[in-house]
């Protein structure tokens, strides 16, 4: 140990010894004379809140030895001898606040240290008997890392906090957090209230340098598997002494706080918790109001930050257009979040987390109150609820006998505009927050009077002057408005006892000179009362908000002065508080919370489309002048002259074409946090279904292109990728509700250049496979393991209960279970593929291992092996005319789809592209040009054929009575470049139409304009602004790695 460190320690010890330590000495020796004090304090005549809702008007609080001894009305609490009595009449006492989401006194999470230039890292760098994954460290015990930190504690205490839960915010399984008080006079051993108070989790791997997980879905899969592993480990401890899994099992009973970065991930976390048998407490982003009803259903308690965005710089017409509508709206609505949670009955606690400047906590809390959060609800969310969540309600969060003496003394009601936090008592020790007796800023009626009559008529004497005190309570700024003339500046200083004011009437002459003539010229012989400084001394009385005292004018004339605060004028002048008392008028929450969102899903009103050319994609072919009726989400009738049911509406389809909605077999839209978990060769455990993003504007744009459903696919970065989600484009529904009920499971496989990382740069040459040769072995190995796994479980399941007890249970392996599902035809493969050799290889492996490749996607050399695909029973989903973008597509030809169709395959045209997916009808049409398919055949390539290959054709993909009402009314022959959808129906709901689109455009314009004006007004009012953010417009492609989208064109 170096010398200066020793010295530092010595100083710290002295500091502790030197404080007013009344506490028992505990196990610690002392240097010098012991200083144990009785530590008994009585606070009398307080407005005392013993908890968030229980008020005692003339209350007494008695504390001793760091604990509450008694609370009650003055009459009922007997003050013992030896108590230090403080009369706090007019003041308010509340239980100390509790923050459940801090990193107080624990090391900051280190930034991920690995450079992007490094090659892959397959294994954890944390050596020892721990989890294989570096981001999973439930064994980390924050209590062991905790060190009292004076600066951080001071900052939290200034906000009124007395106890916090703390943990390094790092990793996916973060370990246990510890509950500590913010007392800094004692030692760690004494301030730690609960050593392991909660477990911490997130989807963010934080400082882990390990590749896996490289996506949000990977994080979810890792959590899911880790819970299973912990169970298995607990059952079979001999197999692996795994300290991480042991720790996880041990903390299962603790409250678990899950940090997410938005409302969608809140839903994801809760769903994961349901699987794992855990009800998480969810630390959100403050956007919970955007999905209030769905979040309420989770049953979770939310930890809500008060991090309100600053207004954006919207001065420039065009730059302002770059700001996404949801950001503009969030600026307006974020302060209402807590109020809405409260009104909806969603349990929540408030946290100072996420605030870059912690000092904004109280102003923002007051702002939340202006937006409807009651003081009671706010107090509850900062005291009772957090204490209860941490099962520490018998120690903190209220003031009851035996509890920690954590409380704050306020000059006014907690959320009152002019409340000043005076003292924060933590474990019975006082931390003075303010020497200012109260927030005395405001507009005062100011009078100077003198007994000497001579002055009576002077302009600066009288009762009708004004005094303004602005700035911060600690650093006030003074202005005097005299009876005549301009406002002048002065100085004011107020301490708990005394006030001093200095100003100079002649100062105004230096400012605006307009009224200087009115200032009387003083005789040169004697100092004029009008020139030179006026000095006033006195004191401030909180009751009545009055300054008063004596002073001297510049010429020595004694004066009396008095300033009485004008409450109404004060409120009006406040810059840091809303000028309006009533609730601000706020914009609607729309679903999704993005441009083109709506207040509600469109209805399933019965709809009769009359007299259209109907492309059925069925044997019936194309029907001229036909009516189609949509009711309750289904196509109920097809025919001529159909009657319109009651309550229905009809659409004239004359000259127009009604076609089945387009189904995109290969889409990467609507996915959060990465499309590839390509960090391992086999990642069948990851699920796109875990990360559906219902707010991707691509959904709406696809609807405008006639698309009604899509397979959301994992990327092609590894041979066995993740599981797909089959969704309908129910724009505005939750991610779960977008999924097609009853749809079979699908999974992405991939071959070729992407999986062998041919185009990934020179650093990516380590992950197996690097050749097509190795790719085959990945499949053979994976399915061999899957077979063995299945056998292992079958054998286990055959055992009697008794034998099972004695035997070692197999481990649940979600990766292999997905493959077993394939073997059992419960899950189907969509395989990214290009050249014939690899296509034949996979079919060969499939035949040998006993599974089938449901679909080859891309399959640009399918035309070379169509006969073999037919024999295998594979479907083909291809591009119309893409080629030459990499070596393996140099033989791709636009005749591919037609040749495969003619060879007897079920063929689809897909997009794999958020732009092309809007024009899939055109891509299908190209097969008429290239290869001579009929127009009806061409349209099937994007309707019934993909429905068949996705096993959805029983209820989707064609216009047939009884099928889902997923139809598009085209302006023209749908295969023409001149055709565009006029209506797109999903489940009979008008999800897009030209008229509805026009209305939405108008809404967006109007809402934008309103918000821009509001921001300009806020800026004018002095609110800080930030540069306009552009939404990084990005897209997922098959080969996008990591969690950042690729820049769009």
């Amino acid at each position: 140990m170096k010398n200066h460190t020793k010295k530092g320690m010595a100083t710290a010890l002295l500091a502790v010894a030197g404080s007013a330590a009344w506490a028992q000495p505990g196990t610690f020796p002392r240097n010098g004379v012991y200083d144990q004090r009785p530590g008994t304090f009585a606070f009398t005549h307080a407005t005392l809140y013993t908890d968030y809702q229980t008020k005692i008007s003339d209350g007494t609080l008695l504390v001793r030895d760091g604990k509450v001894v008694a609370t009650g009305p003055a009459a009922s609490v007997k003050i013992p001898a030896g108590a230090v009595v403080q009369d706090v009449a007019g003041k308010f006492i509340y239980p100390g606040l509790v923050d459940v989401f801090t990193s107080y006194g624990v090391p900051d999470a280190p930034a991920a240290a690995r450079s992007r230039r490094a090659g892959p890292q397959f294994e954890s760098q944390k050596t020892g008997a721990y989890s294989w994954n570096q981001a999973v460290h439930p064994e980390v015990n924050a209590a062991e890392l905790f060190k009292i930190n004076n600066d951080q504690a001071t900052a939290y205490r200034a906000l009124g906090f007395g106890a916090v839960l703390t943990q390094p915010a790092d990793g996916i399984m973060r370990g246990t957090a510890t509950l500590v008080s913010l007392n800094t006079n004692r030692r760690e051993q004494e301030v730690m209230l609960l050593e392991r108070a909660a477990a911490g989790l997130s989807f963010d791997k934080g400082s882990s340098t390990q590749d896996y997980p490289g996506s949000l879905m990977g994080s979810i899969a890792l959590l899911r598997q880790t819970y299973l592993d912990a169970q298995w480990n607990q059952r079979n401890p001999a197999r692996e002494r795994n300290l991480s899994l042991q720790a996880l099992s041990q903390q299962k009973a603790l409250p678990a706080i899950f940090q997410v970065n938005d409302k969608l991930s809140a839903l994801r976390a809760d769903k994961l918790g349901d699987e794992a048998g855990q009800q998480y407490i969810i630390k959100g982003r403050g956007d919970e109001y955007q999905r209030l009803d769905d979040l309420k259903k989770t049953g979770a308690t939310f930890v809500v930050p008060l991090n309100f965005p600053e207004a954006y710089d919207v001065a420039d017409v065009y730059d302002a257009l770059r700001i996404p509508l949801e950001d503009l709206k969030h600026w307006e609505l974020a302060p209402a979040n807590a109020a809405r949670l409260s009104q909806a009955g969603v349990p929540f606690v408030l946290t100072a987390a996420d605030l870059k400047d912690k000092k904004k906590f109280l102003p923002n809390l007051r702002k939340a109150a202006q937006y409807g959060l009651s003081e009671t609800a706010a107090l509850r969310a900062l005291t009772e609820t957090p204490a209860r969540l941490l099962r520490a309600q018998d120690r903190i969060g209220a003031l009851k006998p035996g509890m920690e003496a954590n409380f704050i003394v306020c000059s006014a009601h907690f959320l009152a505009d002019d409340n000043v936090l005076l003292d924060n008592w933590v474990q019975g020790e006082r931390y003075q927050l303010s020497t200012v007796p109260a927030d005395y800023r405001g507009v005062y009626k100011f009078s100077l009077t003198s007994a000497e009559k001579i002055l009576k008529n002077e302009f600066y004497i009288g009762a009708d002057m004004s005094m303004l005190i602005q700035g911060k309570p600690e650093a006030p700024e003074l202005k005097i408005v005299p009876t005549v003339g301009d406002t002048i500046k002065g100085s004011v200083a107020v301490t708990s006892e005394l006030a001093t004011i200095v100003f100079n009437f002649s100062d105004k002459q230096k400012g605006k000179g307009a009224k200087s003539a009115e200032v009387p010229k003083a005789p040169s012989s004697a100092p004029s009362p009008a020139e030179g400084s006026v000095r006033l001394s006195g004191f401030y009385t909180q009751e009545g908000r009055v300054f008063q005292g004596d002073g001297l004018l510049a010429d020595g004339t004694p004066v009396k002065w008095r300033a009485v605060r004008q409450e109404e004028a004060t409120r009006a002048a406040r810059r840091d508080s809303a000028k309006v008392v009533p609730l601000p008028v706020l914009g609607n929450v729309i679903f999704p919370f993005a441009a083109y969102g709506r207040a509600a899903l469109p209805s399933q009103q019965p709809t009769l489309i009359k007299n259209a050319t109907v492309w059925t994609s069925e044997a019936a072919g194309k029907l001229e002048a036909t009516d189609v009726l949509l009711e309750n989400g289904k196509i109920t009738r097809i025919g001529k002259n159909l009657a319109l049911p009651k309550g229905g509406r009809s659409i004239d389809g004359t000259g127009k074409h009604l076609a089945p909605g387009i189904i995109d077999e290969h889409s990467h839209l609507a996915i959060s946090g990465g499309v590839n978990e390509g960090t391992q060769a086999v990642t069948s455990e990851v699920r796109i279904g875990d990360v559906v993003d219902n707010e991707d504007v691509g959904i709406y744009r696809d609807l405008a292109g006639g698309v009604v459903a899509a397979q959301l696919l994992h990327g092609s970065a590894n041979p066995i990728g993740g599981q797909s989600a089959l969704v309908k484009l129910r724009w505005g529904a939750t991610p779960e509700d977008m999924k097609i009920v009853g749809a079979p499971g699908f999974i992405k496989f991939a071959l070729g250049e992407n999986v062998k990382q041919s185009n990934w740069g020179e650093l990516n040459v380590l992950r197996f496979p690097q050749t097509r040769m190795g790719t085959e072995q990945v499949f053979v190995d994976a399915f061999t393991r899957a077979r063995e796994y299945e056998q292992e479980w079958k054998a286990w399941n055959k055992l009697s209960k008794g034998k099972q007890k004695a035997a070692e249970a197999p481990r649940h392996d979600l990766e292999l279970e997905a493959l077993v599902e394939i073997l059992n035809k419960q899950r189907f493969i969509t395989c990214h593929s290009y050249v014939q050799s690899e296509i034949n290889m996979l079919m060969g492996v499939a035949d040998r291992m006993g599974f089938q490749v449901n679909t080859f996607t891309h399959i640009l050399e399918g035309y070379k092996v169509a006969d073999k695909m037919k024999a295998h029973g594979a479907n083909a989903s291809t591009f119309s005319d893409w080629w030459a973008y990499k070596n393996e597509v140099k033989d791709a030809i636009p005749y591919n789809a037609a040749i495969m169709t003619r060879a007897g395959l079920n063929v689809a045209i897909n997009s794999d592209d958020a732009e092309m997916s809007r024009r899939l009808n055109q891509e299908a049409a190209k097969t008429v040009k290239y290869g001579g398919l009929s127009e009806e055949e061409a349209l099937r390539l994007v309707t019934i054929n993909p429905a068949k290959m996705l096993h959805l054709d029983a209820h989707m993909g064609s216009i047939k009575e009884g099928k889902d009402a997923d139809v598009v009314l085209w302006s023209e022959n749908p295969l023409s470049i001149y055709a565009h959808p006029e209506y797109t129906f999903v489940d009979g709901r008008e999800m897009f139409s030209l008229t509805a689109d026009a209305a939405l455009r108008a809404d967006i314009k109007q809402e934008r304009q309103r918000l821009v004006q509001a921001m300009l007004a806020a800026r004018k009012g002095g609110a800080p602004t930030q540069a306009a953010p552009g939404k990084a417009q990005g897209l997922w492609h098959c080969d996008t790695l990591g969690q950042e989208k690729e820049a769009a064109q």
Binding site: Y318, G698, Y863, W882, K886, I899, K929, Y978, Q1026
Partner: protein, 433 residues
């Protein structure tokens, strides 16, 4: 049996077909095309037209009734029921510069460094690219291979797509310089703080100062007498100040367009066009008032901002047309080289969203030729101009009907075969289809 014979005959000719077809020889005798509907390219449509050409030049283009020459001296093509269009012109393309995007060895589109005005795309233009024949068959007969990247990427040239080598192919050498206007600084990442933004802003200002300096010096340099010490950069920029070369300003954002044009004009650039221009709708009046030509980049694109109209890219041509701005259409973007065969359908989409068919055709023929300065010879089918055109069974702008039956460049009847048609035949043969 039939299948076997077919396969055998295919393989016999396979070796030749697998190559890029031989360029067509010069026109040997006058040709007359009759019966087609003639789309002149300037907005005029002539039903039942006659088109006559000799030695590569049109000697007649108009109504059949008005054709009075002796038909017997012509080789006559009866194109009754077909549509006749000027060969489409593909501006601002990597065609011939890039073969396979993912293979670096086949990519010659972007030189290292940011100021390469002396670099010339023409000499890298590969007439043997397998991609070229697949583009011609959809109606594109001329192109402007254009270097990418940097600030000053280098010079483009205009070529025709049926040639032995680049010298053969050239229609207009080194027609323009390409300046990628430095993007305005915005906060693209919500975590980016003010100081980072400021740093980027300063870097941009520095870049613009440098550019201004370079232009100023180049303009002065060209006035130096002969015998000056040669500076390749400065001398290559002379053309944009003496009017012999067009400065193509690549900019998308409305304010960038205005800024770039004003900058160039202020520094004495004579001829300019804005390329990209995806937000040109923000600057319509400016473009019109300043007589700025626009090369609109591929409109099969996503709107640039979430809240933009879903059809904003599609309707941009109609907005420019309505505002009276001169514009043409290109195919720049993802997979542009191989995808450029879809140029006609870009025009088709512009029709779907507001243009007339003939306006859209003009935007891929005559206006393009005007902007490139080759309209004396190309871009429309009028007497005296080059016989560069295609015949299609149906509407060329709609993939549903686009079916090119013949194509002529400078009167030469070019092959419509390609590696892809070869592979189609080969594998149709395999299955006896």
């Amino acid at each position: 049996m039939r299948f076997l014979i077919a396969a055998a005959s295919l393989f016999a000719t396979g070796a030749a077909l697998a190559q890029v077809p031989m360029p067509a020889p010069a026109q040997a005798k006058p040709v007359l095309i009759t019966g087609a509907t003639l789309h002149v390219g300037n907005g005029t449509v002539v039903p039942n037209a006659a088109l006559a050409f000799d030695k590569g030049r049109l000697t007649y283009a108009g109504p059949a009734a008005g054709f009075t020459q002796d038909k017997s001296s012509f080789e006559t093509i009866d194109a009754t029921g077909q549509q006749l269009y000027p060969g489409l012109i593909l501006p601002n393309t990597t065609l011939g510069l890039t073969e396979i995007e993912a293979i670096r060895a086949t990519v010659d589109e972007e030189e290292v460094g940011t100021r390469n005005p002396n670099v010339r795309a023409l000499i890298a233009y590969n007439t043997d690219s397998d991609i070229l024949p697949t583009v011609r068959t959809n109606g594109v007969l001329l192109a402007q291979p254009t270097p990418r990247g940097g600030l000053l990427a280098g010079q483009s040239s205009v070529v025709q797509l049926d040639a032995w080598n680049w010298q053969d192919a050239v229609v207009r050498a080194d027609d323009g310089q390409h300046l990628t206007w430095p993007a305005m600084v915005f906060r693209n990442n919500p975590n980016e703080d003010a100081s980072a933004l400021d740093k980027r802003q300063k870097a941009r200002e520095e870049q613009l100062r440098d550019l201004e300096q370079l232009f100023g010096e180049a303009n002065a340099y060209r006035q130096l007498p002969a015998g000056r010490k040669e500076n390749l950069r400065l001398s290559s920029l002379a053309g944009i100040f003496d009017g012999s070369k067009t400065l193509y300003l690549h900019a998308d954002y409305g304010k960038e367009i205005i800024e770039a044009v004003r900058f160039a004009r202020r520094l004495g650039v004579q001829k300019l066009a804005v390329v990209g221009a995806r937000d040109a709708w923000m600057a319509l009046d400016f473009l019109k008032q300043n007589d700025v030509s626009v090369v609109v980049s591929r409109i099969h694109a996503l709107p640039r901002r979430d809240a933009d109209d879903y059809d904003q890219p599609y309707k941009l041509p109609a907005q420019l047309q309505a505002a009276g701005v001169r514009f043409c259409l290109d195919y720049q973007g993802d997979q542009e080289t191989a995808g450029s065969r879809n140029l006609a359908f870009i025009a088709g989409t512009a029709v779907n969203f507001g243009l007339t068919k003939e306006q859209a055709l003009t935007a891929v023929t005559l206006t393009t030729a005007q902007i490139m300065g080759i309209d004396k010879d190309y871009g429309s089918l009028e007497t005296g101009k080059s016989a560069t055109f295609v015949l299609s069974k149906g509407d060329l702008l709609d993939m549903r009907t686009n079916a090119v039956t013949r194509a002529f460049i400078d009167g030469r009847s070019i092959s419509l075969e390609s590696k892809q048609t070869y592979l189609e035949k080969k594998f149709r043969g395999k299955y006896g289809l």
